[in-house]
Symmetry: C2
Subunit: 162 residues, 2 copies
């Protein structure tokens, strides 16, 4: 049996194809750009459901940023067609905004439920889900959903027979 010389033996976990890797990083920079929009829209939707209004000060308090920062972001969300502002009455979601909010919330809830099912503490669930939700692609999300409800057998089998 002939062994490769140590020099040419690649580490078991070698680097991915450069193009694929740069595409990953690009995709993630792209995702990062959507994070803020999703966070704002999702939060506005939650606030509207809870108290029928979403004001800059409330949004600011929830996000832990200043009111002018919120004002600036809202201008962008208005420009993007996700929210409308009723002067001194807070902000409301457009159709497009509601759609984004629903998708984001669905995603968020699945990630949360999944982490809970894994036995993660409530505190960590809150923090980690907030970060993870934006980077979970459709396929991974489907896998999470499968693991939570129903398709448990597939999941177990995969883990057992690997």
């Amino acid at each position: 049996m002939i062994l490769k010389s140590p020099r040419t033996v690649k580490s078991s976990q070698s680097l991915p194809d450069p193009t694929a890797q740069s595409e990953s990083f690009r995709a993630n920079r792209e995702a990062r750009r959507k994070v803020l929009v999703e966070d704002y829209v999702e939060l506005i939707s939650d606030l509207l459901e809870e108290s029928q209004e979403a004001r800059q000060v409330d949004i600011a308090a929830r996000l832990g940023v200043s009111q002018p920062t919120v004002a600036k972001m809202l201008a962008r969300l208005v420009a993007d067609g996700f929210v409308v502002q009723k002067p001194y009455r807070g902000v409301f979601l457009t159709e497009a905004g509601q759609k984004v909010a629903e998708e984001a919330r669905a995603r968020h809830r699945i990630v949360e439920a999944f982490l809970r099912a894994l036995g993660v503490s409530e505190e960590s669930v809150l923090v980690d889900a907030e970060g993870i939700e934006h980077y979970v692609g459709d396929e991974t999300l489907a896998a999470f959903k499968r693991a939570i409800d129903g398709g448990l057998h597939d999941f177990i089998n995969r883990l057992v027979t690997r």
Copy 2:
């Protein structure tokens, strides 16, 4: 039996405590700041292992950004004490840099292995792991590890008995 008036009935999935929520968002903004550092250091470590050198052009190609962008980031990494530059010989990791790289890589591999175990396609694993790894706290990471190797029973039980 007295029912609350519809107005005061909160939706089943009510908003988290404002303080807790703003802390979540703060924590995630914090995490976001570390993302680039981890990405660079992890990649530099991989390049060094693979070819004993890590030049700006290679890093740029892998990350899908321009060389001047890399140059600027490297200046920061040098200032932060994670890398050293040998003129026209590329960059190398300090002790601190190697530590960060190892932690990041370990994290990355666990997330990848976990997603694979869930049945996610290789392509999605690459992209999603890159995004998710930075937002997985220690506790969640431990849960991932448990789910992959060994503590499978706990995991299944939790899913079954919830």
